[in-house]
Symmetry: C2
Amino acid sequence: MAEVTLRDVARLSGCSVATVSRVLAGSRPVGAETARRVRAAVDSLGYRPNHVARALRSRSTGTIGLVLPQITNPFYPTLVRELTRALHTHDRAVILADCDDDPMTEAARIDALLARQVDALLVVPVDEKRSVAAVTAAAARVPLVLLDRGCGPGVADSVVVDNAAGIQLVLDHLAAAGRRRPCFVGAAGTASAAVERRAAYESGVGALDPRAPGRVELGEFSVEWGRAAVDRVRAHRPDAIVCANDLIAIGALQRLRQLGVDVPGEIAVTGFDDIPMASLTDPGVTTVRQPVAELAAEAARLLDRRLAGEKAGPSRTVRLGPELIVRGSSTTDCTGPADAASGADAAWDRKPAKNPVS
Amino acid sequence: MAEVTLRDVARLSGCSVATVSRVLAGSRPVGAETARRVRAAVDSLGYRPNHVARALRSRSTGTIGLVLPQITNPFYPTLVRELTRALHTHDRAVILADCDDDPMTEAARIDALLARQVDALLVVPVDEKRSVAAVTAAAARVPLVLLDRGCGPGVADSVVVDNAAGIQLVLDHLAAAGRRRPCFVGAAGTASAAVERRAAYESGVGALDPRAPGRVELGEFSVEWGRAAVDRVRAHRPDAIVCANDLIAIGALQRLRQLGVDVPGEIAVTGFDDIPMASLTDPGVTTVRQPVAELAAEAARLLDRRLAGEKAGPSRTVRLGPELIVRGSSTTDCTGPADAASGADAAWDRKPAKNPVS
DNA sequence: AAGTTCTCGGAGAACGATTTCCCAGATCGT
DNA sequence: ACGATCTGGGAAATCGTTCTCCGAGAACTT
């Protein structure tokens, strides 16, 4: 029904399509009286501009492709929300693509988005190494911002959290609590989060116990692995288990409880990311919170800058500082998950703020 | 760079753009030799069709708008994954819109998607009543399928889970386990899930205890409310708390643990949805699993049918049967969350199946 | 053998906006 | 008062496809 075009508006207001376009886009001054007539015609007809036609002519679709490794990873929903929010204020739409954690699929999705003429891409790369080809190729065609995970140096703009600083926060916290025999349960593979967090642990753990560097076990970012890892480190009688993310920490916590180990009395457990679930276990997981809203805002800003012309310039990297969230899994100063202070920070645990950081 | 158009291909292969279009789209038979030349030219030039131009001409963008109440609700990520997967096989892209659980925002997002000429809409309405205006208006312009929640009768095609059957499964389970004094903790408001689950409880609870209908408390779908609700029902000394969704159940579980109540010994707790977290608490939450993959597949099918012409026809509703997942919160036959059988079903707890239901 | 269908290919009109020219009249400068 | 600039507006090209005509020749039909 609503097949109202510029021509219709032009006809009704008694002027040409060019003029109508001009008053709507404000691309050139138009006489006051004419503008009035045009505007009257516009909302008398209920005219809605056709984005597709506009896109064809102006070579800009106003859409951004968002490529995620796996939307079901509990860390991403919040990121998606913040990103859509940030981009929507600039009248951009987000086309979502899920990669099933597979670099092949990722490459295919990126290609599909490019074929759809997205104006830019936001990519959380699946793998630090195996994603690099597809990403660099894409970056050559449209502005591209890497998010949360890196993907080789200088490939594209990127905004990431400072993993090393986060792990350091954890180590400092454990040291202050008197823990001396930590171990690390991380993820194998070349994903940047896995690599950076492990490296940071290895370089910082010496402060706790200069002689025994603490065992390091590598698996994957899953609850299952967290459970399994506990059995592999118990023989070393650690007094703290530093996990590379919250899923691992949650798994570890489960297994420890099952074994009847006192947490945090006998062993402290820490995670990374601060996914909603981390505040709901018992005890709550001490973890490193990623500044998701800032991550999103910064990515949007970088994107805007590139879209506003700034084609050249070397790729910038914004590194954001994380925050330590102390909960019951590492200290008894803090009560269980039902504690108001720690229990209330799950995003969906209360009405969302209408005007967040922005 | 890749500004290769049909014209270029036509020029190189020595024929007209019409012919090239035909061989690419297969819209009409083309001579074998000509087709060969065209194809050679196509991949010698690396031609990629321009979706925008195609969309303008054919009045179909190949994009579907997906409107969600709140992506951070842990029930949706899986749904999003299945939907994108299902739609991608038909070469459709998904534009995501988050509503912040607000009907106004929802209306605005729907409008924006319509302006972008999405081919169809998938909507999980925010509110059974206050979403109806925007949804009906949208349904008049494009095919629209309601998902997971209803939105008034006959407004559009919809695919939902049978909430009543789900609650009945729970009640049967509790009855079989000998529970006789249940109570219900649900959500106020007119969201269809809230209404239907509450109604089903009220109509089915008589079988447990014909004299005392069991107390009903209404709040919202949140962990916080689950915690609070426990304090409001404890005076009635229930032996089972039937919660309207998993978040509430998790909250209840936390509070009960904090109070030192034995679950499931003294009180059983049940949820609804089977979000990933439900299998990770201790004890695991007995809950009703929504058949998310089927939900998505069915929605995709409905959409395809409408997009394939079938404009007329009354709106159909597909109602899918849920499945009871028994975990430790309602029976001692089932061990804790670390139990392999109950702990392994979180979607992101293992590598995703490459070829699921389909 | 003439008429009829069939097949393959080209020319060109849409699709609905933006944008570049170009022109008429008003305003300005000297 | 006359040329130069400025201003508001229209005609038409353009973006890259798809699709409708149209026509020329080959293949049938009778």
